[in-house]
């Protein structure tokens, strides 16, 4: 049985085709992970492009898109080319990059969007930092329309995050940790959607984690705005309970949310409001995690487990196989304008289809 079969052979299996009995296995296109942090350049002790590519290949991911928040920040063409060249040397999988939306991701001045776009940047983002200024966001959206490129937001109002290290609520209060209100996410998305309506452009909210934000995005999509979004496996596999006992290994940004939010994320994936699942792979060393919770770094690795954690929800019935593959492969390809994401006649030679 081939899940993709009905589309490939709509009528019947033609007589002159070799029939391969896959014995219940699923043939899917290689996965596209649209949010990966590597340590190259600058933090090679955390992850090199080579190790990231190996991790991706091990997890069935054949295309990754790297965030620009390296050291130095990928905010100019030379650095973008450096990353592309290093990735080509590894050659294991296909590696693409985003570029910084603002110079040095400071949130003040636009980076050279036109030149970077020409050099192959798939989108513009300040990585784990929100583009906080409404004026900067407005100009980014507006200017990016010239190139039809994507502006990717980390949707959180920094002032509301403040000193917060986990989701606000009873658990945070019991642990004595400063909380981040869930509203910080939806407020930023609502603001950006207004700007999108005003300025045009293509807007992508990266890692949507709350019911309120999913509702707002569903409405904006219904209104015809050019908005897409993704989430990461930890937001549908875990809830805020994972950080009790100060487990810093589950400290991520945005923080793990309530159980109700976790269910909403799964529902959003099932109904297509959330377009994609990105691993938000963020390698950390023990030194930055084995610390008091307040001091520990955000982030978890995810390239190797992206597929497994998603498939868990296929097996338990929360998602269908096609919904999962759509979010892991087809939609990321469409959003980023990449080939792949589907099994077509010409794609047979592409690496990693399995």
């Amino acid at each position: 049985m081939v899940e993709a079969g009905p589309q490939v052979f709509i009528d019947a299996v033609q007589e002159d085709v070799d029939v391969v009995d896959c014995a219940g296995k699923c043939l899917a296109p290689g996965l596209i992970d649209m949010r990966v942090t590597t340590g190259e350049p600058g933090n090679e002790h955390l992850e090199t492009l080579a190790s990231a590519c190996q991790a991706a290949a091990a997890g069935g991911v054949t295309t990754i898109v790297c965030l620009p928040n390296t050291d130095p920040v990928v905010d100019d063409v030379a650095l973008l080319e450096f990353v592309e060249r290093r990735a080509a040397e590894v050659g294991l999988i296909s590696v693409h990059s985003y570029a910084a939306a603002t110079k040095r991701t400071r949130g003040e001045e636009m980076s050279e969007i036109g030149l970077l776009h020409e050099a192959g940047a798939l989108g513009f983002t300040d990585g784990p930092k929100a583009i906080a200024s409404a004026m900067v966001m407005r100009r980014l959206l507006s200017y990016s329309t010239v190139f039809g490129t994507l502006v990717i937001q980390h949707p959180e109002i920094p002032e509301l995050v403040g000193e917060g290290v986990m989701s606000e609520g009873e658990t945070a209060t019991r642990l004595g940790l400063a909380g981040i209100p869930a509203a910080a996410e939806v407020m930023m998305i609502e603001r950006d959607l207004r700007l999108l309506a005003l300025s045009g452009g293509r807007y992508h909210a990266s890692r949507v984690t709350t019911s309120a934000a999913i509702e707002v995005i569903a409405r904006a999509k219904a209104d015809g705005l050019a908005v897409t979004c993704d989430t990461a496996p930890h937001y549908f596999a875990l809830n805020e309970g994972a950080v009790t006992d100060y487990r810093t290994f589950a400290k991520v940004s945005p923080p793990l949310r309530s159980e109700a939010d976790r269910r909403s994320v799964l529902a959003g994936l099932a109904n297509g409001t959330i377009d994609a699942i990105a691993s938000d792979h963020t390698p950390r060393d023990q030194d930055s995690k084995r610390l008091p919770f307040n001091q520990a770094a955000d982030g978890v690795v995810g390239l190797e487990t992206l597929l497994q954690v998603t498939l868990e929800n296929v097996h338990n019935g929360a998602l269908t196989m096609l919904q999962a593959i759509r979010a892991l492969s087809l939609r990321p390809a469409e959003i980023l304008g990449l080939p792949g994401g589907r099994l077509t006649k010409g794609s047979a030679g592409r690496s990693g289809d399995f």
């Binding site: 403040g162 209060t173 004595g176 100060y246 084995r290 008091p292 307040n294």
Partner: protein, 338 residues
């Protein structure tokens, strides 16, 4: 209490204070050595390698190699003591971690109330007033007072009430007059401006006017309502001087005295438990007699000094456990049980 005791003889206690403290540190410092016969090593951030960039876990491993019997730790980050306790194989006492817990303070508060009233806390109404958001003392007291049968109110402006507090069995008030109505005990908390990032109240003047405890606001409480404060006090910020110094109503000095007693008792309880041979450690679980759940343990034997459990009275073991990561923050580790 002044009786000399030798239960700490030959034992090493390390006071590890990553944050300033006067009361807690002193009561863990001089007294145990003097009265319980132990050796005390005091370490503070200024003199340790922490300033040189050593991580908490490295500090823990270094101290662990000195084979102390008890570590007393205060740290500015919630959960830091918990983290440290996982890495050492001696007893660890939480002397306050961030805005999480300060268990010995809650124990001494309960003891102070018991001694003054000559009875348990059942049925009392306790109002905790002030900067609850930044207070570890408030959290520990909310747990302990509720376990001991008191009703707990939190009285503070909404900006100083942490989210979800009502789910911890606390009645919340934003108005002193309503919050203090008919209460038996008033616990004032210090406005912890050093932990505040940004403005939580407009001004000290306004805060004192609305939330500072003076005789006028005290009128609505029970006529014999008692006043407590974990210190250090900011006179004229959260409490009027004449209220703080009222010998009939204020328990503030007694709290400091009980602090020494409670901390000595904690040390005694922990080291006594360590004497037992490996694998046969006596552990007393003092049960909360009101709770139906047999696993719902009241983790603080010191909270009821006059009324020890039956097992304790029979002399079954002499140690007690705080449970791994338990809310009392008192971590017992068996020898080698890292």
């Amino acid at each position: 209490m002044t009786r000399k005791h030798s239960s700490l003889r030959g034992r090493t206690l390390i006071n590890l204070f990553f944050e300033n403290s006067t009361r807690t540190r002193t009561s863990f410092r001089a007294w145990p050595a003097k009265r319980l016969g132990g050796d005390v090593i005091n370490m503070s951030v200024g003199t340790s390698s922490i300033k040189k960039g050593e991580t908490l876990i490295d500090t823990a491993m270094t101290l662990n190699a000195m084979h102390p019997d008890v570590l007393v730790v205060r740290h500015a980050d919630s959960g830091a003591v918990h983290l440290l306790a996982e890495k050492v194989n001696c007893s660890v006492i939480n002397a306050g971690d961030g805005t999480h817990e300060h268990p010995t303070q809650a124990l001494l508060d309960a003891l102070t109330i018991r001694r003054r009233l000559g009875r348990g806390l059942e049925g009392l109404t306790v109002a905790i007033c002030g900067d609850i958001a930044h207070s570890r003392v408030a959290r520990s007291n909310i747990h302990l007072m509720a376990i001991m049968g008191a009703r707990v109110r939190a009285v503070a402006p909404p900006t100083l009430i942490p989210a979800g507090l009502e789910r911890m069995g606390v009645e919340i008030h934003h108005d002193m007059e309503r919050g203090l109505a008919d209460v038996d005990i008033i616990m004032m908390l210090r406005l912890q401006t050093e932990r505040m990032k940004g403005s939580f109240v407009p001004s000290i003047r306004e805060y004192y006017r609305l939330y500072g405890l003076d005789y006028e606001k005290l009128k609505v409480a029970k006529p014999d309502a008692l006043i407590m404060h974990p210190g250090p006090m900011n006179r004229g910020v959260e409490i009027a001087s004449e209220v703080a110094d009222d010998i009939d109503r204020s328990l503030i000095r007694e709290q400091v005295e009980m602090g020494v007693a409670v901390r000595m008792a904690c040390l005694d309880a922990l080291v006594s438990a360590q004497v037992a041979p490996v694998g046969k450690e006596p552990v007393i679980h003092i049960r909360d007699e009101r709770a139906d759940d047999p696993h719902n343990l009241q983790k603080c034997p010191l909270a009821r000094p006059g009324k020890r459990s039956r097992r304790a009275r029979r002399g079954v073991g002499r140690g007690w456990t705080g449970g791994r990561g338990g809310s009392t923050g008192l971590h017992r580790r068996g020898p080698g049980g890292c």
